[in-house]
């Protein structure tokens, strides 16, 4: 089966991506998947963990794997330790001149949920100047964003905190390991209604292995479908 390159999902070459969205919507996992996929296409990828909200289950769990894949990874200096202080490392600043000099560079900001997007404010000037493309990741099975109206409210909160506009929606609806194709299809009308309210496109709908793209061949699915892996750390 022919699988589209990840770059082709985006309207422009994905150089500066922001992955924002509701708390627990799966932003980090989407960001990790994008990082690996862009790397596989030969882009020079930097993943920035800007999550100042979550104490556990962060991209830092995948640090070794990211380094092995030669993906630059910038995390808060004390992530996954007992130092309960969210810090934005100075190292982040270097990616902006890098983006200007290297057309093959892709930078992904993995942002904390909801008002965690406030951390983007620190980089507002650079993000605006360099034309960042901001994704709003939502999961219709999250109880506080289980309606189009609630999702719109969440998107507007993120936009207000980040002082940026979202460019597209990622439909990451899932029920964890119990997700069935039927669950994914049941979420489609809610996500379509949200996209219509927000006047934004659904850039892609994720389907996490072991489910496949072919499981979503259905008239309800109007957006492109992206197969992703679950990189969340397993505890048992």
């Amino acid at each position: 089966m022919f699988i589209l390159p990840i770059s082709s999902f985006f309207p422009h070459p994905p150089r500066l991506l922001i992955v924002a969205g509701h708390f627990g919507a799966g932003k980090t996992n989407v960001a990790l998947n994008l990082a690996y996929m862009l790397k596989a296409e030969g882009r020079e990828v930097t993943l920035i963990d800007l999550d100042i909200v979550n104490p556990y289950f962060r991209a830092a769990d995948a640090e070794d794997a990211l380094r092995a894949a030669e993906i630059q990874y910038i995390n808060p200096p004390f992530a996954n330790t007992n130092v309960d202080i969210p810090v934005l490392g100075a190292e982040i600043q270097r990616v902006f001149p890098m983006l200007e000099q290297n057309p093959n560079a892709s930078v992904i900001f993995d942002v904390g949920g909801d008002n965690g997007a406030v951390a983007l404010g620190r980089y507002h000037a650079e993000l605006t100047r360099l034309g960042a493309y901001m994704l709003c990741v939502e999961n219709a099975y999250r109880p506080l964003t289980d309606s189009p109206e609630a999702m719109l409210e969440n998107l507007q909160e993120i936009e207000a905190y980040s002082r940026l506009r979202c460019d597209a929606i990622v439909n990451n609806s899932n029920l964890g390991e119990e997700t069935s194709a039927e669950d994914l299809l049941n979420a489609m009308p809610t996500m379509d209604a949200f996209a219509a309210l927000a006047e934004l496109p659904i850039l892609f709908t994720t389907v996490c292995t072991p489910l496949r793209r072919t499981d979503l061949q259905h008239s309800l699915v109007k957006s492109p479908v992206l197969e992703i892996q679950n990189y969340t750390r397993k505890l048992f």
Binding site: F23, G24, N54, P55, Y56, F57, N82, D84, N139, Y141, R142, P143, L144, D146, N174, L175, G176, E178, D183, L235, F236
Partner: protein
């Protein structure tokens, strides 16, 4: 809701509390349980309830005492250091026979410790979460679903026996995400809160809620009456889960997140032909002693696994009258054992039994 949603354990406790009629929440932020407060702050105003961030854990538990005294279903949550701060208030609440739910999403201790998952507050929760002759009804959820279900149980038991109930979770359960379905504990036989200080309206004698007794004999009598209720809790509310215990040579005893790790290790050990089972206490107080005693009739060895230095070991020894060896494996300080580590311990013990 009536359908599955994907939630963090912390969020599941908060939503379950609301669905079980909790109208008052008093909290103070501390990692790794702050999502409970965050969720309450978003949802309580929408259901006509109150979520208030107090100025400290001490203030929050005393607000719980006030709301409970007025007859409201009320909850507070914290993590280990914050629960220590609440201990005085908890003891006063016990002394006043007030129902409420307290959540401890444990992190590493002692002191400020760390923010990673731990079960090192087992002693505190089951022996003395406050001064005086007291017990709390203590439940230990092991999944996001149980974070929800046992929250309902905690409210019902608290109301039925006029006691604080403690949900003893840990940072991993609080932060991890699993699908969950909500079902409200429907209990119609709960007694009226005729004791509540909620305004007599000139229709009854005033209710006074107090934990101070002028006469030591009165105090002794009140404690004895409370202990009769504790006996009823032990009789009616003890909960546990058994997994492959019938033919097990080795019986593991583990609760909460550790039981999930043990289950993976047990399945791997069974695949290697090692007869190992699990007794998972769901209530830590009352402790499922009878189940352990029965297992000791057939099992050769008990192995306790916790995220601490072995705080449950003595309870297991007492339950089985030291009839079998009880060993321990655990990690502490915020470190979680892998299922491979636990499996290696099982294999070590199985090797010893074979000799």
């Amino acid at each position: 809701m009536g359908h599955k949603v994907l939630m963090k354990g912390n969020e599941a406790i908060a939503e379950a509390a609301i669905q079980n009629g909790c109208l008052h929440f008093f909290g103070y932020p501390i990692t790794p349980q702050t999502e409970i407060s965050e969720y309450m702050a978003k949802r309580m105003p929408k259901v006509g309830g109150l979520c208030l961030q107090a100025e400290s854990e001490v203030a929050a538990i005393n607000m719980v005492m006030g709301a409970a005294a007025a007859g409201s279903r009320v909850m507070t949550s914290s993590s280990s250091p914050g629960v220590s701060l609440k201990s005085e208030g908890i003891s006063y609440i016990v002394g006043c026979d007030l129902p409420c739910v307290i959540v401890n999403v444990q992190r590493g201790g002692p002191g400020l410790g760390g923010i990673q998952p731990s079960q090192a507050d087992y002693y505190q929760a089951t022996k003395a979460n406050g001064h005086g002759d007291l017990h709390l009804f203590v439940v230990a959820p092991a999944s996001v679903q149980e974070m929800a279900t046992l929250t309902g149980v905690a409210f019902v038991v608290a109301d039925k026996y006029r006691t604080p109930a403690l949900i003893l979770a840990d940072g991993a359960l609080g932060q991890m995400m699993e699908p969950v379905e909500f079902e409200v504990e429907k209990k119609t036989d709960l007694p009226e809160k005729s004791w509540a200080a909620n305004g007599h309206g000139g229709k009854r004698k005033k209710n006074i809620i107090n934990s101070l007794f002028m006469d030591p004999v009165d105090l002794e009598n009140s404690i004895k009456e409370r202990f009769a209720r504790y006996a009823a809790i032990a009789e009616n509310e003890t909960r546990w889960e058994e997994l492959m215990v019938e033919d097990a040579d080795i019986v593991m005893v583990a609760y909460g997140i550790t039981s999930r790790i043990c289950k993976t290790a047990i399945n791997a050990a069974r695949a290697k032909g090692i007869k190992v089972g699990l007794i998972r206490p769901i209530t830590l107080w009352p402790f499922p002693s009878a189940a352990l005693k029965k297992a000791a009739e057939t099992a050769k060895h008990f192995m306790v696994c916790e995220l601490n230095m072995g705080q449950m070991v003595d309870d297991v020894k007492v339950a089985i009258d030291c009839a079998r060896p009880v060993s321990f494996y655990g990690r502490t300080g915020g470190v979680m054992p892998s299922s491979e580590e636990v499996l290696a311990e099982i294999e070590k013990i199985a090797g010893g039994l074979a000799k």
